[in-house]
């Protein structure tokens, strides 16, 4: 990390959002750990003042002693609270692309290289995750963040905090990681038929719509986000075997061209949403599908890399 000048050092955003320099790996030290008393800590200060008042009125040395003991415990707790975060190592793990509207999961690896156990840690993105770390333990935690827009979504500030040991102080560390997740356009809920009537662009060897309901059931595959509900193998789910999607064999049977220009929709997002739906369905059915959006053409193909390439193109359009 680079050195900060005085103005940067006391900039408010540093205490809330973390430093701008986005990194992959952070060792928590005094530069990124901040400490302030909690409300309970302020209550403790009131308690100490009350004890001092009692000691003063009754001129009672043992009451003074207890008040001083609590005051120095309050003071010492700052060090202990700092210690509950200090020297943790945080690394960004992998994150899977999601469809817009779903929660994106960021994986953070928290590593405790010291011999001291951490009894109370909280990671905060949009929801809180409580966890503990024992001596020299490494733990993966996944933080979820709501997505609303397609495209690359940055992980915003992850805040790691702790109130251990007495809850009088809260140490927190706002961390600005350089991790981002790809958000695909939200698939349209309405299932429109493939653009067969759109003319020249569609070159059907066989009518996929007619095929759709037919028997050439090909196999089962684990359910993935975006799969149509219609294709879920409910019998297996009812047996408690988990969620599976039925796959239909349509290989080499058809070549589908999806064209942005001929996609129904009032605006860009609606069209992308519909295309996203078609890509998912076409992949499910095992069609050879090609892809044409302004500025980009992807030759018809099939398979996971192709599928991801198409969705990425849609996401970044």
């Amino acid at each position: 990390m680079t050195d900060l000048n005085l103005k940067q050092r006391f900039k408010l955003s540093r205490f809330i959002k973390g430093e701008k320099t986005a990194v992959k790996r952070i060792v928590l030290n005094q530069r990124c750990i901040f400490i302030l008393p909690t409300k309970r800590g302020l209550g403790f200060v009131v308690l100490i003042s009350l004890l001092l008042l009692i000691a003063f009125v009754y001129n009672n040395n043992l009451a003074y002693l207890l008040a001083f003991l609590l005051a120095s415990i309050f003071f010492i707790t700052i060090l202990h609270t700092f210690k509950s975060l200090a020297n943790l190592v945080l690394t960004v793990g992998q994150s899977q692309p999601v469809f817009s509207g779903e929660s994106a999961g960021f994986e953070i690896i928290v590593e405790n290289l010291t011999k001291q156990a951490r009894h109370n840690l909280q990671a905060h993105l949009q929801q809180k995750v409580d966890f503990t770390l024992s001596t020299q333990e490494k733990r993966r935690i996944t933080l979820y963040s709501e997505t609303v827009k397609r495209g690359w979504q940055d992980i915003s500030t992850v805040t790691l905090s702790s109130t251990y040991p007495l809850g009088l102080f809260r140490a927190w560390s706002p961390l600005h990681f350089s991790a981002k997740v790809l958000v695909y356009p939200k698939p349209n809920i309405v299932e429109l038929p493939f653009p067969e009537a759109a003319g020249a662009e569609i070159n059907l060897l066989n009518n996929p719509v007619a095929k759709k309901g037919s028997d050439d059931f090909y196999g089962l595959k684990e359910y993935q986000a975006g799969d149509s509900i219609k294709h879920i193998h409910w019998k297996a789910f009812a047996k408690g075997q988990g969620l599976f999607s039925k796959q239909y064999d349509g290989n080499d049977l058809s070549e589908l061209w999806l064209n942005y220009e001929h996609t129904p929709g009032h605006n860009v997002e609606e069209r992308l949403s519909q295309l996203s739906r078609w890509v998912i369905d076409a992949e499910k059915m095992g069609l050879q599908y090609g892809f044409k959006i302004p500025g980009m053409t992807i030759e018809p193909n099939h398979g996971k890399p192709h599928y991801e390439q198409c969705l990425q193109a849609l996401a970044l359009f």
């Binding site: 060792v27 309970r40 209550g43 403790f44 308690l47 009350l50 004890l51 009692i54 000691a55 003063f56 009125v57 009754y58 001129n59 009672n60 040395n61 043992l62 009451a63 003074y64 002693l65 207890l66 008040a67 001083f68 003991l69 609590l70 005051a71 120095s72 415990i73 003071f75 010492i76 707790t77 060090l79 202990h80 700092f82 210690k83 200090a86 020297n87 190592v89 590593e111 290289l113 010291t114 011999k115 001291q116 009894h119 109370n120 409580d130 966890f131 503990t132 020299q136 109130t163 251990y164 040991p165 007495l166 809850g167 009088l168």
Partner: protein, 651 residues
């Protein structure tokens, strides 16, 4: 927060609250304490049967009844007793309403206040240790609340560590924090329970009842030599007036200004006298006090009187001279000290005549009387038979069993019959030397009565008839332990086993006495004047210097503590990185330095270009390092392999 998950925390908290309020059973009125105990038990049951806990309406009713109960007991909330009851009751009510984490904190803080109120009643070292222990439990409760998997023993351990680490700063603040006395309007008048001690009149048996009490009255620390036991007479009230049975003080002390100026001879003793709280404002100085602090005054009977509240512990610097001559006797004194309730009986006049009281000088008569006590069949006992009518006649001619007060009363009576002015002096005699602490401890069992006779050219002179009948009492001091255990005044235990046990007991008592003395002197009594005296001996004279020292010391301790607490036991750098750094260092020696921003692979390439013979080894190390650092899966063997390769690497 769910309570089910925090059951352990709640049990912990309830237990520590039980512990903290337990000693208050003596201080809080019984109905209130019963009310509190009821609430505590109710809450305990509520842990396992949450449906039994009261709802809001019931809590409101309970609060109202608690307020009524409080009002009926105390008529207010100010003052020590009322305040303590208030906090105890509030604590009990709050217990029934634990809903959030915040409530747990509030209860915890209330418990700390109740713990403090304990010190307003008792300040012994044992109570302090007890409260410290309970505070540790309370802190452990907070630790448990802030842990996700609360465990009892680790929480207690953490709390103890925090307390131990906090102690140095606590002590520094305690020593340096300025003590200012609270203004008058902030003080509350409290009535104290009666304490035992010498009373302002002497009846047969009034002193012997003290003989069984080992309660400490005062301590004396001498600057130089300690006076021999037979000179340790600690002067208290002087009884001149008698009705034949009861001896009382003269109330009229106006003759003070007519008194002769006393002359002092011989070596004077300088000492610090530390009085325990008393009911009467008497200060028991060594006979006879010469100089004393301004807060004291000497009355016409040469007794020191404290002008301030006797209920506080206090220290006085006093000088006494054991050899003195009070000079002439005033008319009032003469009249007072010859007073007799009625004509003496025939037996008594006969006795005085027999001892040549009427025709010989006073000194001869005194010798004869003391000799009479020694040679005749007189006995010294703590439990004399009852003498209701004519106690002096009965004692002299019938029972002949008596305690110091009997001998003193009879002695003075006989003197007065012979027309010699005499009076009884009450106070304490002796004192046990605490060898460890080098001070004398004077207990209630040391209470004593002796006699003063006015002699021509000598003034008031002390005689002790008890010394004639039981010289051990004066020479050897009372054996308090044996007196307590058997109720018999005994000075030379004959049984060897008992004597051994007693000496062991004595040692233990003396050790404890030393600790307690230091505790009283340096902790309880470390207020205003004492603090100023101690700090100026260190060269700290004003508030400003105190503040500087306070900040300096706290700063220093903080640095030491921070180093101690925050030092990292394990290197923060991950294992694989440390090993790789060793490899880089080795290469740096060979002239290939890893640049900032250069990846491990780029560095490996450079190494291979410069030292082709090392290519294979460098590549293996680099690959292992990358695998350990970035790959998701690796084994412990990889670590071992990397370690071995780096160790054996040579250029």
């Amino acid at each position: 927060m769910e309570l089910a998950a925090n059951q352990r925390v709640v049990i912990f908290l309830l237990l520590s609250i039980g512990l903290i309020t337990l000693p208050h059973v003596y201080h809080v009125p019984l109905p209130l304490f019963a009310f509190f105990s009821g609430l505590l038990i109710w809450r305990f049951i509520g842990i396992w049967k949450p449906s039994y806990l009261p709802n809001n309406i019931l809590i409101f009713l309970l609060t109202v009844s608690a307020l009524l109960l409080l009002y009926s007991q105390h008529q207010g909330v100010l003052g020590r007793d009322a305040g303590t009851s208030l906090f105890v009751t509030a604590l009990g009510l709050k217990l029934l309403e634990i809903k959030k984490e915040r409530d747990l904190y509030l209860i915890n803080y209330l418990a700390f206040i109740v713990a403090t109120s304990q010190f307003l009643y008792q300040q012994s070292i044992i109570m302090a240790a007890y409260i410290l222990f309970v505070c540790c439990v309370l802190l452990a409760t907070l630790v448990s609340i802030n842990s996700q998997k609360p465990q009892t023993i680790p929480a207690l351990k953490t709390a103890l560590i925090i307390i131990l680490q906090a102690l140095p700063i606590t002590i520094v603040i305690f020593v340096l924090f300025p003590r200012v006395e609270a203004p008058r309007w902030m003080m509350f008048d409290e009535q104290h329970s009666a304490r035992s001690g010498l009373s302002d009149s002497m009846e047969p048996g009034s002193i012997s009842s003290l003989g069984l009490s080992d309660e400490l009255v005062f301590r004396v620390k001498f600057k130089g030599a300690i006076p021999p036991p037979n000179q340790r007479y600690w002067r208290g009230p002087v009884f001149s007036h008698t009705d034949g049975k009861k001896w009382t003080e003269t109330k009229q002390l106006f003759f003070k200004r007519f008194l002769d100026k006393p002359h002092y001879q011989g070596t004077a003793y300088q000492y610090t006298l530390m009085m325990e709280p008393q009911d009467k404002n008497w200060v028991f100085a060594l006979d006879m006090p010469v100089s004393y602090p301004n807060s004291l005054e000497k009355n016409a009977l040469y007794q020191l009187i404290n002008k301030k509240n006797p209920g506080d512990r206090a220290e006085y610097q006093i000088t006494s001279s054991p050899q003195y001559n009070t000079g002439y006797i005033t008319k009032t004194e003469l009249k007072d000290n010859l007073q007799l309730p009625s004509e003496p009986s025939e037996k008594i006049t006969k006795l005085v005549q027999h001892l040549q009281g009427y025709d010989q000088p006073a000194e001869v008569f005194i010798d004869a009387l003391l000799n009479h006590f020694t040679t005749e069949n007189f006995h010294y006992t703590l439990m004399p038979p009852l003498m209701e009518e004519n106690p002096i006649d009965t004692f002299l001619f019938e029972t002949r069993y008596g305690f110091c007060s009997h001998y003193a009363a009879a002695f003075v009576y006989l003197m007065r019959v012979a027309d010699i002015p005499a009076r009884v002096v009450g106070g304490y005699q002796g004192g046990e030397l605490n060898k460890a602490g080098g001070f004398l401890e004077i207990r209630q069992a040391n209470a004593h009565a002796w006699v003063e006779v006015w002699l021509k050219n000598k003034g008031w002179t002390r005689f002790d008839p008890t010394a004639a009948i039981a010289p051990e009492r004066i020479e050897q001091d009372v054996n308090i332990d044996l007196q307590l255990s058997t109720g018999i005044v005994n000075f030379n235990p004959t049984n060897v086993n008992i004597s051994k046990a007693i000496s062991w007991l004595k040692q233990a008592r003396q050790m404890w006495g030393t600790v307690d003395y230091s505790w009283q002197r340096w902790v309880i009594n470390y207020t205003g004047a004492n603090q100023a005296k101690f700090l100026s001996s260190l060269g700290i004279h004003d508030f400003k210097a105190m503040a500087y020292w306070l900040l300096g010391c706290i700063g220093f301790i903080t640095i030491v503590l921070a180093w101690f607490i925050l030092k990292v036991k394990q290197n923060v750098v991950a294992k694989e990185l440390r090993l790789y750094q060793v490899f880089c260092q080795k290469m740096a020696k060979a002239g290939v330095k890893k640049q900032n921003g250069e990846t491990a692979q780029q560095f490996c390439m450079r190494v291979q270009q410069q030292y082709p013979q090392l290519a294979e080894k460098a590549e293996l190390i680099t690959d292992l390092y990358i695998k350990l650092r970035y790959a998701q899966c690796y084994t412990e063997e990889d670590f071992a392999l990397l370690k071995q390769k780096v160790a054996s690497f040579k250029y």
